[in-house]
Symmetry: C2
Subunit: 345 residues, 2 copies
């Protein structure tokens, strides 16, 4: 049963007030009310005041559906996000919401259950149905990104978390540089055998970090260990850490994110090894908990919030017809804590 409606009684005509009700009570035409609503110029201050008074008084709210129907505008920005509970996307999303609110836009978020074309199309249609004026895609997976290429949208689009290559409008933290920084940090400490536990195959960031890692390794002319493909979870880090110890042909591990690093720390500790004494570990992301790991984790900080803010700045700029927008990549930062040390052998 719905709250607030009566069941048996005659419906007491509870229709919400519309623009004509306001007009009638204010003694003006509906068009004048419309002008007040869209704060047009050339309206007498006294009239405006009177109309606003009535609006306040009867609690009139413009009907967005009607407005969207006629204008195809909505002051709404859509966010399409692949469904993940990961720290990065979530943080960016929050920053996006704040930035959009500040710019006077509303945000509608829809998340993808899967990353196949159908799911993307469905999510997109839902957003388009709300007459969104711009779209932010937080799509860390390659597939989503590809699927998007095929859609010719008529609104500005900004893509997050890509490598920034080839996409029309994309914004990202420079993952490759970050991975290079992490790897070079280990190399600088004298490590010669470094293992990389990467993220899943189809994640753009996983790919980029792997590339940065391999770059740094081959530049330093070190032995290349084949990266291990993980799933971002601490559980995976733990398992792979345990297996890795069977060989013990490395002195440092660069994990694709902080969670997997945590699992690795756990596995090494369980085996009686000391981090960083025996093995160095570097993570990626700098989640708020990373500094409280044991030992506090050396990692690469990404400014996800800045990423979110910039995406909205870019998008709003495009919507409002600005040019000369800032597409620069954001540089990550290496945070050195206690999980890395000079190689012992």
């Amino acid at each position: 049963m719905k709250l607030g409606t009566t069941d048996k009684m005659e419906a007491p005509k509870v229709r919400a007030p519309n623009i004509r009700d306001v007009a009638r009570l204010a003694g003006v035409s509906y068009q004048t009310v419309s002008r007040v609503l869209n704060n047009a110029e050339s309206i007498k201050p006294s009239t405006k005041r009177r109309v606003l008074e009535i609006i306040e008084q009867i609690g009139y709210r413009p009907n967005q559906a009607a407005r969207a129907l006629v204008t195809s505008k909505s002051r709404t920005i859509g966010v399409l996000t692949s469904q993940t509970a990961h720290y990065g996307p979530t943080t960016s999303l929050h920053a996006i919401e704040d930035a959009a609110r500040e710019a006077g836009y509303l945000i509608t978020t829809t998340s993808l259950s899967t990353s196949d074309q159908g799911s993307i199309t469905e999510g997109l249609e839902h957003l388009m149905a709300q007459a969104i004026e711009g779209l932010v895609v937080i799509a860390p997976q390659v597939r989503v990104f590809d699927a998007f290429r095929q859609l010719a949208l008529t609104i500005p689009v900004v893509t997050l978390d890509s490598t920034g290559q080839g996409a029309p409008r994309s914004l990202s933290v420079d993952q490759i540089a970050g991975a290079r920084m992490a790897t070079n940090h280990l190399i600088g400490l004298g490590h010669k055998d470094i293992v990389h536990v990467a993220g899943p195959r189809d994640w753009i960031e996983a790919e980029a970090r792997m590339r940065g890692f391999l770059d740094a390794i081959s530049t330093a002319d070190l032995r290349t260990h084949r990266p291990i493909l993980g799933d971002w979870t601490a559980d995976f880090g733990y398992h792979v850490g345990t297996e890795l110890l069977d060989f013990r042909d490395f002195t440092a591990v660069f994990a694709g994110n902080d969670q997997m690093a945590l699992g690795l720390l756990h596995a090494f500790r369980n085996a009686g090894l000391d981090v960083p004494g025996d093995i160095s570990v570097v993570g990626f992301d700098d989640v708020p908990e990373a500094r409280h790991f044991f030992p506090p984790l050396t990692t690469v900080r990404q400014d996800f919030a800045e990423l979110g803010r910039r995406s909205i700045a870019l998008l709003v700029g495009e919507i409002e017809g600005e040019t000369d927008l800032d597409h620069a990549q954001i540089l990550p930062e290496l945070i050195v804590r206690d999980s890395t040390a000079r190689a012992c052998r």
Copy 2:
């Protein structure tokens, strides 16, 4: 510049096809098309097939704004969430999205920047403007919850993460029971002086967990330590842990969530103390990383996903006029790991 539009050339009238275009091409009236769209009965199969063919062919999509304007229906469920990056709400949200999709509903999420009445009203209006048929409120803060009470909505509402008391439709994991379980676990291990590091004042869960803690303490007739109010972060846990050690008048700590527990572990470790040898620590939530903490954390698991699924089941039930719905609270589960041990003195 918008993608997909040409700048200089005359606009080539790219109006999206509407129901009348379909009707004309199919040689029927627009109403017949409408009937096909809403799969009404009494429509000749051959006609239906023909219409569907045309729809497919010209890529017609019903205009939701127009539909919403006239029906005030949208097969959309709104989610109003207070803006947090916390594990629980995020996990529930994902479950909600999946469950809704399965039930044939779409989800629109709007998050609150602040929890004042104005922000809530604004968020709600945005959702109502999309003609949502039901509303899920993920509002862990007392203020949000209170503000909602004042709004007389005409659609079904389900509130998450409350204590389940007094709200018309609310669903939650029984926080009080969970806190009691955690505290009794410590009491059972012989701890007589237990400190509770709680969440912020206005969080409903924080309050409930505190209540469960105090319940258990007073039932066991132990000395009551005044709970410390925190902010859920690991950083806070670390700082309070450091300060707590100045007195050292306790043998166990029950943290309001796993992050704060992590900070406590860090602080105690830094001070040269052993967990659980010297101090036992219990968390709350069982985030996926908790088992990889050092030591693996004893905590209370909440099934956030189940919570999300149940909320949609409840809401869809109400929307579709079902009765006899399941409002039972979900019971949390104590997960005993290595951060708790028998009290040493």
